[in-house]
Amino acid sequence: MVEPNNRPVIGLSSATASQPNSSDAFFFWLAPDVIVNPFDIVEAEQVAPEGTSRTFGIVTTLDHSTDAPTHLSNFISNDFGQVAGEPNTARQGTTVAHVAVLSNDQDIYMPVMNDRSVRFADEAGIHTALGIDQVAERYRVPAGLIEMSNKTRAVVYLDSRYVLGPEGAHVNITGISGLATKTSYAIFLIQSILQKAEDRDRIGVIILNVKHGDLLTIDQPPRAGLAPEEHALWEALGLTPQPFSNVRYLLPYGKDTPTTGRPNSFRIPERNWFLYAYSLADTYNKLDLLLSNIPDPWDTVGALIGEINQGLSDPRTGQWGPTGKWKDVTDWNRLLNGEPLVKEGQAQPVGDVRAVSVGRFRRLLRRIVQTRQTGIFVAHRPSGVKNLSQEIARIRGGETVVVDIARLADDEQTLVFGDILRTIYALYAEEGSESEDLPEKVIIFVDELNKYAPAREKESPIIEQVLDIAERGRSLGVVLFGAEQFMSAVHERVVGNCSTTIIGRSGSAELSSPAYRFLDPAVKANVSRLQKGELVVSHATFRQPVKIRFPRPAYSQEGES
């Protein structure tokens, strides 16, 4: 049955006494041989003051039922359990699709009546269904491609006002590891923003490379080029498959760096890379971040950090300038082993902090900056080795800064990430945006967000820093793209402030946690079956999450053939 609109009817809506259609959902049975999958977007004929309207919906589940009232009936039907042989008559059965209503093109939310034609939506219909048609062209950011069972494709656009502010902000990407999907998607979305967003020249990007060296060559094209189908996917999205341009890499100083000159990184970018390290002068006012992971129920560590911060600051400028009894504290060794913390080998009380607590602080700090450090903590920064905070503050619109922390210890990673957040936050919130060359928006991408903003943790300096960005970044123009394996492991206020949530394949145990309560149970079941390269996108302006595909990154990656 082909209608004037040339799209075949795939089934008819069905309402029964026990399963009525409603304003929010309807059912339809499928014509034989029609294939429909969850996340397909369909349209059903609906009433209208004049003519008909279209109610769009997304298929959530499919059931097949037969007229057999029990499984025993089927057993008996097969000659009491004979498995061989084909039944003479096919048992009457039908597949019924459950559809969650997305929208109606004339804003009519009457339940879909019985026996109304149902078709696959076309691209324009999909945009209407998701509310994308209401988003002005200039705010559209391609986020991926919907590919339906009938091979219809439609570009899914995010509303940039809900990604970069001011209406909403932040993107959270979750899913189990091993599928190389989360980072690839984050980078794809950033590229999409940099190619399509309004005022893209005034957007700065900071990417933290937390694993291997994949993100250390984002300005290099893939060695073997992109596969033609990936090219086609990029083009279908209206994007150009190209590596990042204007990239600056900041790589950590390592133990071997003084002899080899090489950074402590898995890979070395071809160009435009700089080393960074932390001397005491660079760190004295960030010790709270460095010790973020230390339990401090009585705030003794916090109090001592406050004393040290004060002692090492020049009271006139507020900048580095040890004075008084702190005047000899110029490097890590002197802090740990000299006065005022230690005298004649014994820990000394400092301010209200007792000697025993000072001793504990020394042990903790020594372990982090000396015993187990990767080389990033130096007595004095050699010339040419950068101060990370200052480098971050130099960010300009259209520039991408990649900060490598992959080989750093956990505490060092926390320091670097916290340092970046604090620097950016200070630039935008505390100093205002007076500086003309400051980007209008800054996107910060970090994987393993759960390390820095874990759920069910008491407040810590790093959590507070992340929360500041999550809660105020929207209005400041500071946007956090976070990724993690388990969204349930991330602080709920961070996740709750993300206007866009991207979900890759996840286990059912994870999906049963309250973090996913915004997902329909049927959608959760589908999320556990997602393939590589498939994601479910929940966006502030979408009425239901949708499943998308996205292309492989257009830059050189480790292990690529």
Binding site: S77, N78, F80, N88, T89, R91
Partner: protein, 375 residues
Amino acid sequence: MTALQNLRQILKAISQDVEVLPAVGGAVEDLERPDFEEREDQALNEGEKVFETIFERDPSGPPRLYRPVPPLGRTEQHLFRYFLDGSFRSYFLGTVLENERESPVHYAQIGACVLRREDDGSMRRERLQVKSALLVGKQRLSETVWARLASLASQADVDLLDLTEKDIVSSVLADFDLRNKAAGKVRFAMHNLEAETIKALLPQLSEERWMIVDGSLLFEPTLTQLSSAGPIKPVIGVAKNFRKDPQFVFGRGPRAERHSIYRMLAGLQAEHRTAAFSARGGEVVFWYVRLREQTHLDYPLMGVVKVELANPSQEPVPSDLIDQISRALVAERQVTPHGQDRRWHAHLYPIFLAERTVKESLLSREAVQQFLKWR
């Protein structure tokens, strides 16, 4: 719905001519009698109780009381392509009073459906016919009122049926009053509709494309159609309920074995059939086939169907043909309407679907009850 609108007009018109005692609460659905098929079988074969003629010929040897008939599935040979069943729903609307006479008034929707089975086992509707009928006792009303009813009914495309007219089916209920007899009358009308359907389908049938009719073929005009001169028509009647009083004689002379139907069917193994017997002087041959193992069922007579085949030549029918039909029938045991029909053990699923198709196409009880009012 048009039929109901027409009928409502008839009721309104007639209630102006005669006094009416409407059924309390509107139309009341007549209940179906579960044993009707068996009683019909009895009525149709009233003259014959003892069957002693084995009416099949097997060149390979003497007739046997039981013959194995292993299933012959659709994938090997797709013999049965069409399946016919009729169904109805009838309602008591009230009683009309004309002087000292009275007659119940019933409304019925009667349907017959043929389903066609495709090569992949899926079913399609080949033909579906549904009629509306008004049933009133002609002899209980004046000619004037009957004539007016006839005129109104003909304008409204509704069949007017006389409850007092005798027929083979409603005579089963001869002892009952007209109201109870209505059910038989409606069944009779249904059999007539089935006969019409068989006639319409006959040109589509062939030796490779047979049709199964639910129930007996002994009704007229069905039997006349099927036993008219020429080869055997590719139609069989399959009854899941049949009379339990006949006797069967196997063999001749002093060694002849006499079996009650119970004894004969108790000895009938699964995937076997009985010898074919003649009825109506050879015009029809019939036999029994056991579809399922007795061990799975509650009672020896369960899982057995009676098969009838019209025999125009009135000569013994080749055993091979009866075997072939029986084997194809045994294969029909997969699928069953178990759980949906208590007669599942002997019910053929395509016939069940044909019946269901008719039922689904009838107006709902609620619609009839709300629509059919006298005023």
